[in-house]
Amino acid sequence: MGTINGSIKLRLAHVGKRFDAAGRAATVAVDDFTLDVAQGEFLVIVGPSGCGKTTVLNMLAGLDRPSAGSVTLDGREITRPGPARGVMFQDYALFPWQNVRGNVGFGLKHGPAGAGLASDARARRVQDCIDLVGLNGAEDKYPHQLSGGMRQRVALARLMANEPEVLLMDEPLAALDAQTRLILQDELLRIWGQDRAQSSRRTVVFITHAIDEAVFLADRVAVMTTRPGRLKALIDVPLARPRNDATRASAEFQALSQHIWSLIRDEAYRATVT
């Protein structure tokens, strides 16, 4: 089982979530889910589609309340969304009427993240985040004029601009082609600060259904199973940082991926026949 280093940032204790539908049996999306995430940790949740990953993330974000158990940030119950926890949604959720600059600066302009910042300081931070994700030159484009990879970068820049303590990311790379995906995995680690000490990194909870992606990014991988959504295993990923293409080619990387695949293989096969 995975070990935790440093202080606990997020804690899910015996969390359950059921959706009651009128006239039908309730769906138990998540059941008895217990997990601690350390400050500065990059935690990845993997699991087949429909196993409750998004539900877990929504509860961490405060968009949804658990039906059982508790979800805490720094020991305090999470009851609603807050700027300390930034979310990157599966479908990006960019504002279509705002251009890249407007999207990235939205939280700074209208939310608490920009409080106390002069407008030129705000503009500078927005530009920094746009540069960070390599979107300079596209500042005045609207989401519908961008490719999937570029939209994804806008969503990432928007997340970073608000400087949340915790980053919650729901399959952010799922819609991309294989090459773009590898490039953005590298960039994500760079932006997260994999060269820095753990205490100065942000805490990340990252969802994916791609095992190699999970192993490449994570300090620990939480493997989930379906119906009800449960935590099946917590796997330490002791691969050295900074990680790069050499990491992907290493035997250790392959072995870890194989191991995780063996954990969810049966279920994944079952999912293809049902």
Binding site: P81, F89, A113, P143
Partner: protein, 276 residues
Amino acid sequence: MATGAPAARANDRIAIGVLRHLRGAAAFFVYLRTMLAFFVVWAIIAWWTSNSVLLPSPLAVFAAIGQLAADLELFFHAGISFARMVGSLMIGALLAIPLGLAMGLSRTVGEVVDPTIEVLRPISGIAWIPLALFIFGIGNALPLFIMTYAGFFPILLGTIAGVRGVDRRLIDAARTMGIPQRTIVTRVVIPAALPSLMVALRLGVAASWTAVVAAELIGAPSGLGYAVEWYRELLATPQVMAFIAMIGVLGYLCDLGVRALARLFTPWASDARSAP
């Protein structure tokens, strides 16, 4: 080969451009041919009935249009009707949009107001004319009232649908940035609902313009509807038809205008359709 691909693509683009022009020209010829057939049939029927009060020949109508345009009477009445439509639309939008926002955002407001709306909505604006005559008499107020009434419902329903149809994820995204509720309404819900609001406005313009003739026919001393009625009493059918044609053309232009406004205010919504 490296330069071959972009060049080929540029050629394709030119070819597509030419094709589009050809298609445009072809469509125009088809249109002309249809119109010509229409006028020929009309002329034959007119010649056969040979009753210029019942059905004047196309030439007589064209002559009437020319004469009414020359002494500006056509434009005078068109201008008045148009101004009334713009005025009533502004009143209608000013009433319907805030109410629609409230009904769309708050379940309680929606449930309280909805029964009244559902009862009033099937009553055509024209049905109110006799009552409105008592209240407003003949003048500007009556057509303004009828046209506002007609335009109000499409705008209201479109606003409600727009607000209720806002992508939940956009609101969630704003909430996770810690943005206050009021700001979410003004900066997320309203812009997100704007494309359907523009569609609603288009339907409102159509409804209010359709009501113009009926409203002015009885209740106004000027305007296109009044002119139609005036020339009808003189049995001057070519003039009547000239004004009717003006109603059609102006209605079409208004629709084009609202669509242009929609493209201007919601470029993301109109561009998105042509985007891949």
